[in-house]
């Protein structure tokens, strides 16, 4: 069924809505795919994809579907019916080629080429692998010999869809790549709650509405007010500093820059910790005793409306998370274990997320035990643009 491509796209995380799908069908009825796989590829991409960061994902999915690598069955008849209007008529090909501006002598070569392909197609009809991943179905080879699809005279603009998709030249645009600070800033902007939505008492003069209302009253002054539109989100950013996180120092500093630059929060406070939080956090990344700030003070100072973002690789010795910190200067243990402290944070702040520059490993080893444990406590996201966006959406939800 044709519809399978739709579900396949969706199952691979390309959010295609029914509306877009209907648009695609409408376009195909109007012949905009030009009966070629290349045309179909271009059409699908134009109609279904709306962000260049999704191009690469789309290329991959398209390849998978049409190469039949992960797609178990054969490409459905109904689908091929739509795609396939074989141009067997050589005269028609000639006309098409002439339209494309080919000189007659060039055409001879191309036609010979097409004829050759056609012959071979007939010979190798069953299970022939000359034709694009169709398990013996010839039609996808459509793009192999339709004038729009074949590589004629080495001109790269007649690349086949598979070649185009196969190049994957939009790889750099993928959102799961870690991007520049602007990408991060964009993600931070998701954290917006305009005070028009919350109830504040203070209001400001609405000049436009006042002018309008006054005009309507024939010049009798009618002053109008409106609630101010300012971001009311307050953010507490807690960053791991030193040790294993150093590998990601660049990435973390980019996040830091983006958070500071985005400048859209009502308040932004940044504190640091090393691996795990016990009774104190630190106001500077060097984690020196003179810069320590008691966690209890944080709880008192910053109310539950703060959004808390932890940044760290969450990798430490399990004893570090569950044991109590021993202070050599004061010769005493911390009041709370790291685990308890994190639980206190969770209790104090309904909106918490953890951003992790380290990707979750396929085979967790010793150092990843705390990773898994912390993942159970906090919603954990990978520190990339996509992960940050997801995290920010999570912070906006009522939990």
């Amino acid at each position: 069924m044709f519809i399978e491509f739709f579900y396949y796209l969706r199952s691979r995380g390309i959010k295609v809505s029914l509306n877009e799908w209907m648009t695609l069908l409408e376009a195909m009825e109007k012949g905009l795919h030009h009966s070629t796989l290349t045309g179909f590829y271009n059409l699908c991409r134009a109609v279904l994809i709306h962000d260049e960061s999704d191009f690469d994902k789309f290329d991959q999915v398209f390849l998978e579907f049409f190469e039949g690598v992960e797609y178990p069955g054969e490409i459905p008849d109904e689908f091929m019916q739509r795609l396939n209007h074989p141009v067997v008529d050589v005269e028609e090909v000639k006309i098409d080629l002439a339209k494309l501006g080919f000189a007659p002598e060039e055409m001879e070569d191309i036609l010979a080429f097409i004829q050759d392909r056609l012959n071979r197609q007939n010979e190798e009809h069953n299970g022939g692998n000359t034709w694009i991943g169709t398990h013996g179905y010839t039609p996808a080879g459509n793009s192999g010999w339709h004038p729009h699809g074949v590589r004629i005279g080495g001109q790269s603009k007649f690349r086949t869809a598979r070649a185009v998709a196969g190049e994957r030249k939009f790889r750099d645009f993928r959102k799961d790549n870690t991007l520049d600070t602007r990408g991060f800033q964009m993600a931070f902007r998701t954290l917006r709650s305009l005070s028009a939505r919350t109830d504040t008492q203070e209001k400001e003069l609405d000049v436009d509405a006042t002018v309008r209302a006054t005009g309507d009253k024939g010049g009798l002054l009618d002053v109008r007010y409106r609630p101010p539109r300012k971001n009311t989100i307050k953010v507490l950013l807690l960053m791991d500093s030193g040790g294993s996180i150093e590998d990601y120092a660049n990435l973390c500093s980019m996040l830091f820059q983006a958070a500071v630059k985005s400048n859209s929060f009502k308040e932004l406070h940044i504190y640091y910790f090393h691996n795990c939080i016990f009774d104190n956090v630190y106001s500077k990344p060097d984690i020196k005793l003179e810069n320590k700030i008691p966690v209890d003070w944080l709880f008192r100072q910053y109310g539950p409306e703060y959004r808390v973002i932890f940044v760290g690789d969450a990798m430490m010795d399990p004893y570090e998370l569950h044991g109590h910190d021993y202070n050599w200067g004061l010769r005493e243990f911390s009041d709370y274990s790291g685990y308890d402290t994190f639980m206190r944070f969770l209790k104090a702040y309904p909106h918490c997320v953890w951003l992790n520059p380290e990707k979750k490993p396929a085979h967790p080893g010793y150092w990843f035990r705390t990773y898994q444990e912390l993942e159970q406590i906090f919603p954990m996201y990978h520190l990339s643009q996509e992960g940050l966006e997801d995290a920010m959406h999570r912070l906006m939800q009522r939990q």
Partner: protein
């Protein structure tokens, strides 16, 4: 079959782009064009209009632009002012309603091209406020109890620099195209359009240098097409010989606008 867009003498469009433009026109949906600055997003609309012999109506979006501005503006203050002096026609509200760019495009007898330039400059809600109007190609003016409906659906081309993300509901209604940065061959064609007689060796060297600079890591702002064109002009006027270009990259300030980037280039050149 309606008229097709095949590029114009002033504008070199890639095959993909031509296809997409024609898809958007056939489906009568807005075409959203994204791409690096200087890849010719705005020029595209002009080229489409020229090629199809349509009028181009440009709506430049600024950070303060509201969706309402594109539909119509009701000048209450003028009306109030007039009423105090007893000017005739005050009763006629229509006199004080001025159509915006979108309204203008709707009123054209002949199909026009409407360019909504740099839509991402406006407020985040801006695109959502235009959903209905772009879908149905009509809007209602309550002051006049009147509906303005497009006589001929305009070809709508929207450009974005991706400064802000556009809302999903809006994106779903658009045909999307991302203009890639032109490769060397395409760039030659673009240069041919802009220059009459260029020394071939100069172009070869300049392009080599240009694409080399674009590959430099950690550049804050990569030079784009318009900077290349300016740079070639400078090279022509300066009478720089071709063999010096790649070695020294004269007038680098035309290509790179940031001190930091120039510094990076200088360090790279020293290393060679």
């Amino acid at each position: 079959m309606k008229e097709k867009f095949t590029g114009s003498s002033q504008y070199v469009a890639s095959d993909d782009l031509l296809t997409t433009v024609n898809i958007a026109m056939t489906l009568q949906k807005p075409l959203l064009v994204k791409g690096e600055p200087g890849t010719g997003k705005t020029m595209l609309a002009k080229a489409v209009a020229d090629a199809l012999g349509m009028e181009l109506i440009t709506w430049n979006i600024k950070s303060t632009t509201k969706a309402q501005d594109g539909l119509y503006v009701y000048d209450v203050v003028q009306r109030l002012y007039d009423s105090q002096f007893g000017t005739s026609g005050v009763d006629n509200i229509a006199q004080y309603i001025k159509l915006g760019k979108l309204g203008e495009a709707f009123q054209r007898e002949k199909q026009a091209v409407l360019l909504i330039d740099e839509i991402d400059k406006a407020d985040l809600e801006f695109p959502n406020d235009l959903l209905w109007e772009l879908d149905q190609m009509e809007f209602y003016i309550p002051e006049l109890h009147q509906t303005v409906k497009a006589i001929e659906r305009p070809v709508v081309i929207i450009t974005s620099n991706a400064e802000k993300e556009l809302p999903d509901a809006f994106l779903r209604r658009c045909i999307f195209h991302y203009i890639e940065f032109p490769d060397e061959d395409e760039m030659r064609k673009i240069l041919d359009v802009h220059f009459d007689n260029l020394d071939e060796e100069l172009v070869n060297q300049a392009l080599a240098a240009f694409y080399y600079i674009r590959t430099l890591p950690a550049l804050q702002k990569k030079p784009s097409t318009s900077e290349l064109i300016d740079w070639l002009r400078a090279l022509q006027y300066g009478g720089v010989s071709a063999d010096q270009i790649k070695k020294k990259i004269p007038y680098a300030g035309v290509l790179l606008k940031k001190d930091k980037d120039l510094e990076i280039l200088r360090r790279q050149l020293d290393r060679r």
